[in-house]
Amino acid sequence: MLLILAILLLLATPLTVIGLRRVRARVGAQWLMAALGALLALASVWLLRPRLPLTLTLLDWSANSPFLESPALLADLFSWPFALAIATLALAVILTGVGRLEDLESGAWTGSLAVSALGILAVLAGNPLTLVLAWTALDILELVMLLTRVDDPSRRRSVVVYFSTNLLGTFLVLFADAQARALGEPLTFASIPAAVSPYHFLAAGLRLGVLPLHLPFVREPDLRRGFGTVLRLVSPAASLTLLARAAAGGIPLAVEWPVILLLALAALYAAIAWLRVPDELVGRPFWILGFSALAFASALYGAENAVLSWSLAGLFSGSTLFLSARPGRSRLIIGIFSAIVFLGLPYTPMHAGLRLYLRFNGLHIPFLVAHALLAVGYIRFLLRPPDPPEARPERWIRAVYPAGLLLLFASHWAATFPQLTLPAPLWATLVILVLVLVLGGLGRRRISVPAPLFTVLDRVFSFRWLATVLEWALQLISRAAAIANRLLEGEGGILWALVLLVFLITLLRQFGGGG
């Protein structure tokens, strides 16, 4: 029961807040209720920690029926840190929301809490069946929320494309399940056959936009800072958890280097774009793409701890940056500490991420550069003058706001505590530090990739041309199908049907050995 408590709390709180809004309660009361619900949810996630691993069957599908699996939850050392990240983010958004007038609206809090609830459900999924159910619920909620908040038709189209690729990822997990059946092994997260894990990688890669590289949201939807952060970070968290689990299966050696190459391109492209955008909110999709590519590469090498490390760094450090809009010393201090963590120094949460370089080869160089660029961009946005304050905040706001950021920072350490001492290549830390200093120095001298060159690189490496080619191919197939339909539905349709039948029989005889 404890396992589902956080989810229930995060689902019940928005309903309570909506009830309060209906009875015209003050915004302060609504905020307090939202914060209390999120706090209790976070506490219930913390209560799980000493009891790991924990499982819970949500619905018993196998009772009186031939279903082999039932929806179930599993909290273990892979899923719990993600659950903690999402629960912390939910509370942090509400706490830091007091510092942003635009976020002082209960609709944003209820949305954040509901998305977080489904996010926790997805990361705690105990088997692929639960994962696809949770992913779908999350995707539908995201689709509805984005479509009701985005006015620009072209961005709405991006939302539909994003939803479609997510669904394709879901279908790939179902295909992986079918493949596992073919091998005679029911698919569970406890043992993912090596022949099946590539489908999981592809599913997670599609959802993250990493493999093949695609960015539905090159321009971010116009969302509030807090709600937008939840919406854009929870979904990747739900996909990264699959990566962490599939990492043990690895990938066939024959396809390893081409995939790594594609990931290196994705990481570099994202990191360069992250460095060039005017502010952190515009750059949010590139940040997600960047750290996801690094986590993905770690998964391919079977480095589960590195996947966890990159994922949590991306989620926690990213949230800290995206939620810190108010000027103030506390913002700067917490932000600088987060940036230091992101560098991957020993005994910090990100250090285990450098285990990606344990089997170092030339293809890893772009990852080192991408890591450094992401860190430089992070520091740059941190030092950027924040949004001007709307009014002088009250004292309690000045206390609550940094508490939200501090919570993220502390939770990051707590979530990764067991792997703080994991050995990772120290040379990689040094290289990152040197690269950050060099690239930071170049940045200060305003030396950057020239705009025309970046435009060309952007055209090639954003893989938007691939989308155009695919669209063109689809149109061609669509035209061919229309012609075939016209033939079959025309006056000579019956004759064409007979011709097709003869053709099919010939084919079947051919493949059936002429029997």
């Binding site: 619905l59 029926s65 031939p66 479509l147 279908f171 059946r181 669509s478 049907a497």
Partner: protein
């Protein structure tokens, strides 16, 4: 009284009488709804061939009714099927209040379901083919009002007649094959002709062209009802033949052909639905996909039994009903064209109807959480054991169908409402469109909630499907 009188002759007779009152559609719909409910209730509570006492009145529903030297048989094992059929008829009639089909719809539904029940109950079984043809002919006035959609209707009649001829022709051959199973040439010929007959009757690829044609021109709701009921009944008839003839039942070729044919149907139906630009034709292709799913469910019956075949029918019946009713209602709205271009920017104006259409599409495509998902997943898992690539093809076909839903979403949200329409549609019309009447709202909400309940709690419904295969003496065990 005999069971065939109760579940065949009474609805057929009432349907014919109600046709005389087609000028008052509200009356005919209400009457038909009440009758469908009573027949479903009777199937649940009145066991066939057992003495019953209601008040002081004692009677027994006998299983057989003789008619012109032929017999109609309905036994106690048929009752779960009768309950399901009349339950679904009740829902389709209720959906008709929202879809506003032609006035003769309710009477025609009663007669059609009676004919299809008779087709499954008649001895000798050959008469079933005639009854299928009769059912299709009965719907002609509904499908092509004022000659609209007549091309599709003509094609349907042509294919039905060819199919019927094959079945009739093969009938005596089958009897011969049963009498002398040692003659493989005879059974091979009978099998091939039978396969062709079923391919025509069930619109199996490449004889599927009449289905999208029918959906494009004919009355949507009537066509969808016919295309749900008729292939379902034909499939049950086919299973009865497999159950009856041991050489068919033990033929590995039959199951291989069902596997290949089913996979092709799912792929063709799903991918063509995804590429289609008209919303009504998309529904037609989805029906083809569903026929393929049924074929695949029969193909794996050795591992799962027939319960899965029946389990796929419930989400199909409800999803097609919701899809067809909402689409039919949408087509009656002012200045709405059922093409992807024609529905651009209409998300806000007809939100509830589009939500219902999308829910139905996604449910049929096996989107997790919705009613179609658990049973499709079970089918795919069973297919994967012996033929993983068929399982892959099924997933691909289903994703194709899902793509049709995604294209609808992209269309309805991608552009602001067309300025010419905004001006042309009056304030009253707009207000009416945005707030569908209470029955419509209730119908769509209940269907949505029902889909979620089946999708999340499939174990509650499985025992219902598990009882249905008992109608077959051999396949049911």
């Amino acid at each position: 009284m005999s069971a065939p009188v109760l579940w065949i002759l009474i609805p057929a007779g009432v349907g014919l009488v109600l046709a005389l009152f087609s000028g008052s559609p509200r009356f005919t719909f209400t009457f038909a709804l009440v009758l469908a409910f009573l027949l479903a209730w009777a199937a649940l509570l009145l066991p066939i061939d057992q003495p019953l006492a209601v008040g002081g009145f004692a009677f027994k529903l006998t299983p057989t009714f003789f008619f012109l030297g032929r017999s109609l048989d309905l036994t106690v094992s048929d009752q779960p099927l009768l309950l399901g059929v009349w339950g679904l008829v009740f829902l389709w009639l209720a959906g008709g209040l929202f879809a506003q089909p032609p006035r003769l719809f309710a009477p025609a539904v009663l007669v059609a379901v009676a004919l299809l029940t008779a087709a499954l109950a008649v001895t000798p079984f050959l008469y079933a083919a005639l009854l299928f043809e009769l059912t299709a002919m009965l719907f002609v006035p509904l499908l092509a009002p004022q000659g609209r959609g007549s091309r599709g209707v003509l094609r349907m009649l042509a294919f039905m007649t060819i199919g019927m001829t094959f079945i009739l022709f093969v009938g005596w051959m089958l009897e011969g094959a049963a009498a002398s199973p040692g003659i493989p040439v005879l059974t091979l010929r009978a099998g091939v002709l039978l396969g062709l007959g079923f391919a025509f009757l069930m619109a199996v690829f490449p004889f599927h062209s009449w289905v999208p044609m029918l959906m494009e021109g004919a009355d949507l709701y009537s066509a969808a009802f016919l295309l749900f009921m008729l292939p379902g009944a034909v499939a049950l008839f086919g299973l009865e033949l497999v159950d009856r003839f041991v050489w068919l039942r033990q033929s590995p070729t039959l199951f291989t052909l069902l596997l290949a044919g089913g996979a092709i149907m799912v792929l063709v139906g799903g991918l063509l639905a995804g590429l289609e630009r008209r919303l009504d034709r998309q529904l037609g292709f989805a029906i083809l996909l569903e026929t393929g799913m049924s074929m695949l469910a029969v193909a794996v019956l050795q591992s799962t039994g027939l319960a899965l075949f029946f389990a796929l029918l419930l989400p199909r019946g409800i999803s097609l009903l919701v899809w067809a009713a909402s689409l039919a209602n949408l087509s009656q709205q002012p200045r709405v064209d059922l093409s992807l271009a024609g529905v651009k920017g209409l998300a806000g104006r007809y939100a509830l109807r589009f939500a219902a259409i999308l829910m139905a599409i996604f449910s049929l495509a096996g989107l997790p959480l919705l009613s179609g998902f658990p049973f499709r997943m079970l089918l795919i898992q069973n297919l994967a054991v012996d033929s993983p690539w068929v399982a892959g093809a099924v997933l691909l076909g289903n994703f194709g169908l899902m793509a049709s839903g995604l294209r609808i979403i992209a269309s309805i949200v991608s552009e602001a409402p067309r300025p010419d329409l905004s001006v042309a549609v009056t304030g009253d019309e707009l207000e009416r469109a945005r707030t569908p009447d209470f029955p419509a709202w209730l119908f769509i909400s209940v269907a949505g909630a029902g889909s979620l309940v089946v999708g999340l709690f499939p174990q509650w419904f499985w025992p219902l499907f598990d009882r249905l295969p008992a109608i077959f003496t051999q396949l049911g065990h």
